[in-house]
């Protein structure tokens, strides 16, 4: 059974696109057939993070409007043969997306792929609404700070009322993915703790992604972090989260502060 997963957050800059690329690549590496769909019409970035920006010919809007066939718009990843990208349009208006058109494309993708992962734009406007409309599951990317948690709460409310599943009296399975987690700041009480976030949002935790240079570096070179830095803490966190998505029980490791002796002596924060 194909699953439609939306990666969403409300707030921008929390790591939706990075997480879409990482989870999509992780699922593909495990052997699932995956398509990642960029819903950020006008401000697409998933192509860039995946390193496919120069291979985009047709996009989501072209397919919605019948200008191109789905097979013409899909871009196959050069590293993982199970991973495909459906880019957003960079020039068109987001109003070009229709509910009916998106529904048609998602139904078509579900016939070919095991996972259809929708990368939501920030905000709660049309693009964000349509990216979650047909979702079976949702990953809500949340940073441990007040504005991100507030926006996540709003998004959770929308997932529970504005999706096709909600309207049919079913549930969208929701998961919190805490990203940009800084263990040192959390330990010093400068950042909301994981427990705080989960208690406030009352939604189960999928994983904790540490703030990491490796993620920045992966975006710089256009390669999902799990492929670019396979041994990094961020990759371990994304792999664990992905296995939990697949229903496995994986012990949750809260990243701990790793300080060098020199830094400790000088009272500096680990980079």
């Amino acid at each position: 059974m194909a699953k439609v997963l939306v990666v969403t957050s409300g707030k921008g800059g929390v790591g939706k696109t990075t997480s879409t690329a990482a989870i999509g690549a992780a699922l593909a590496q495990i052997g699932q057939k995956v398509v990642v769909v960029d819903f950020d019409v006008g401000l697409r970035n998933l192509d860039l993070v995946m390193g496919a920006e120069r291979r985009v010919v047709f996009d989501l809007i072209n397919v919605v409007q019948g200008v191109a066939k789905l097979s013409q718009a899909l871009i196959r990843d050069k590293r993982l043969e199970n991973l495909w990208l459906l880019p957003a349009s960079q020039t068109r208006d987001k109003d070009a997306l229709t509910e009916e058109g998106v529904g048609r494309i998602i139904a078509e993708l579900k016939q070919t792929f095991d996972w259809v992962i929708c990368d939501s734009p920030a905000g709660i406007e049309r693009g964000a609404m349509l990216s979650m409309r047909y979702a079976d599951e949702a990953v809500i990317v949340t940073n441990p700070e007040v504005s991100s948690v507030r926006d996540s709460d709003r998004i959770i409310g929308m997932l529970d009322s504005k999706t096709v599943r909600a309207e049919n009296g079913e549930r969208v399975e929701k998961h919190i993915l805490v990203s940009r987690y800084d263990a040192g700041r959390a330990a010093r009480g400068e950042m909301l703790s994981i427990d705080d976030v989960l208690e406030i949002l009352a939604t189960p935790l999928l994983g904790i992604i540490p703030e990491s240079q490796d993620i920045l570096r992966a975006s710089n070179v256009g390669c999902p972090v799990i492929l670019n830095s396979p041994a990094s803490a961020a990759t371990r966190a994304y792999m664990d989260a992905t296995r939990r998505l697949l229903g496995e029980t994986v012990t949750m490791a809260v990243p701990s502060e790793r300080k060098g002796l020199i830094n400790k002596l000088l009272g500096r924060r680990a980079a």
Binding site: R150, G157, G189, E190, D196, I200
Partner: protein
């Protein structure tokens, strides 16, 4: 909550953040739920009354005030002064 966390989080800015969020979200969740409820109530009340009386839909005001212990629902309907006309 562990004892350690209790002490380490006391007076921290994270504890302040947590408290502010809890208050704010409780408020926002009830408001969002409320606006939906009031819209539905208004539509249904309007439909029932319109079955018996002709009225101006703009003259029907439904308001909900949520208090700490009780909430009040205020329904204000203005009926035209001419003899009651049957809608059907």
């Amino acid at each position: 909550m562990s004892l350690l966390r209790f002490f380490s989080n006391r007076n921290s800015s994270a504890a302040v953040a947590r408290e502010r969020l809890q208050i704010l979200l409780a408020h926002e969740r009830s408001e969002l739920g409320q606006s939906d409820l009031v819209v539905r109530l208004r539509e249904e009340i309007l439909a029932v009354i319109a079955r018996h009386v002709t009225l101006d839909p703009d003259k029907v005001v439904v308001r909900m005030d949520r208090g700490k212990h009780v909430s009040t629902l205020e329904v204000d309907i203005e009926l035209p002064n001419e003899p009651m006309a049957r809608a059907s």
